[in-house]
């Protein structure tokens, strides 16, 4: 994966994590310091089942989802002040800047059922890094409703260990 591509994705996720009226990326005050908001607009994927590209797009578009969406997202940010999915993922994307290390994005889509019993795609995006003992994978999992491709914002959870 090229460094330029990762940089672009980092900027996109970080930008999506900012609520309206919050500072833009690069401003002195981090966006995460603001109270996060649930995405104002519904997010839908382009294909069913979602492609890898759809999963990544859905995550970028859901960057402002607050980490309070799930107990699995408590204190997952690389900084304790991180408050959104976008800020959380941006922290790990920012660790992938060395061109001599092994980094990759892993996506997985599996069929499942929502809590309401509707058919859904269970989507997982994991950012991975391997450099000797410096080895990790952090990301998100969420559901996409099969009937209309709607990303179920309240199903976001944070995956990762270490």
């Amino acid at each position: 994966m090229s460094r330029a591509w990762l940089t672009a994705l980092t900027l996109a996720v970080a930008a999506c994590s900012a609520s309206p009226g919050t500072p833009a990326v690069g401003d002195a005050k981090p966006a995460a310091a603001e109270t996060p908001a649930v995405p104002a607009q519904a997010v839908r994927v382009a294909h069913q089942p979602p492609s890898a590209k759809d999963v990544i797009e859905a995550v970028i578009a859901s960057g402002s989802t607050p980490l309070s969406v799930s107990p699995t997202c408590a204190n997952v940010g690389t900084e304790p002040s991180d408050a959104t999915i976008g800020r959380y993922l941006a922290g790990f994307l920012a660790e992938l800047t060395s061109p001599s290390r092994k980094n990759w994005i892993e996506t997985k889509v599996e069929p499942g059922r929502s809590a309401a019993g509707e058919p859904v795609s269970i989507c997982t995006l994991t950012l991975r890094h391997e450099d000797g003992d410096d080895r990790w994978g952090w990301g998100v999992r969420f559901q996409v409703r099969s009937s209309d491709g709607l990303v179920l914002a309240n199903t976001f959870m944070c995956v990762g260990a270490g």
């Binding site: 107990p71 699995t72 408590a74 204190n75 997952v76 940010g77 690389t78 900084e79 304790p80 790990f92 660790e95 892993e106 991975r128 890094h129 391997e130 000797g132 003992d133 410096d134 080895r135 990790w136 994978g137 952090w138 995956v159 990762g160 260990a161 270490g162």
Partner: protein
């Protein structure tokens, strides 16, 4: 490996018990199928040995019904009864947990460790540290001076934590 030892009671931890894990891959320790070699299993291993079921566990993220074990270093750290820099560890504190990461990632006053990529955990007892080597995909035993080489500076500040 018997999981009857996962009581959360530090008094049952012995070198013989910990040596029984040496060379084992996480797949031989976890019954919940959470054993991807690309994941980091340091807290996962420690939590299976010591029976830490709080926070995010392998049972929640895996696909089995085996004993649950916490997966995250930053969730184990604040559950320790006391934490401090390794060089100031009370000499009577053995066994205990040992953490390694960049010093600025840790706030001892609030007992918070940020979820930074380079952080690691092991079990200290009788002069040795048992921990999961994610590079070698197995449990190993090292001295504290060897453990300090796990990451290059400045990511190798060591901290102790009394058993949750």
């Amino acid at each position: 490996m018997s999981h009857a030892v996962c009581t959360g009671d530090a008094t049952v931890i012995t070198p013989q018990l910990l040596d029984g894990y040496l060379g084992k891959a996480i797949g031989a320790i976890c019954q919940n199928g959470y054993a991807n070699n690309h994941d980091n299993h340091c807290a996962h291993f420690v939590s299976h040995v010591l029976g830490y079921k709080f926070g995010v566990t392998c049972q929640m993220m895996g696909n089995g019904n085996g004993p649950a074990a916490n997966l995250r270093v930053q969730e184990v750290f604040p559950n320790c009864k006391a934490v401090g820099v390794w060089s100031l560890r009370p000499t009577t504190l053995s066994p205990c947990l040992v953490f390694i990461t960049r010093a600025s990632n840790v706030n001892l006053a609030t007992k918070v460790m940020a979820n930074v990529p380079r952080k690691h955990i092991g079990i200290f007892l009788n002069g040795f540290i048992w921990h999961y080597s994610n590079r070698q995909h197995k449990v190993i035993k090292e001295t504290p001076s060897q453990f300090k080489l796990h990451y290059a500076p400045p990511d190798n500040a060591m901290f102790y934590g009394s058993m949750p």
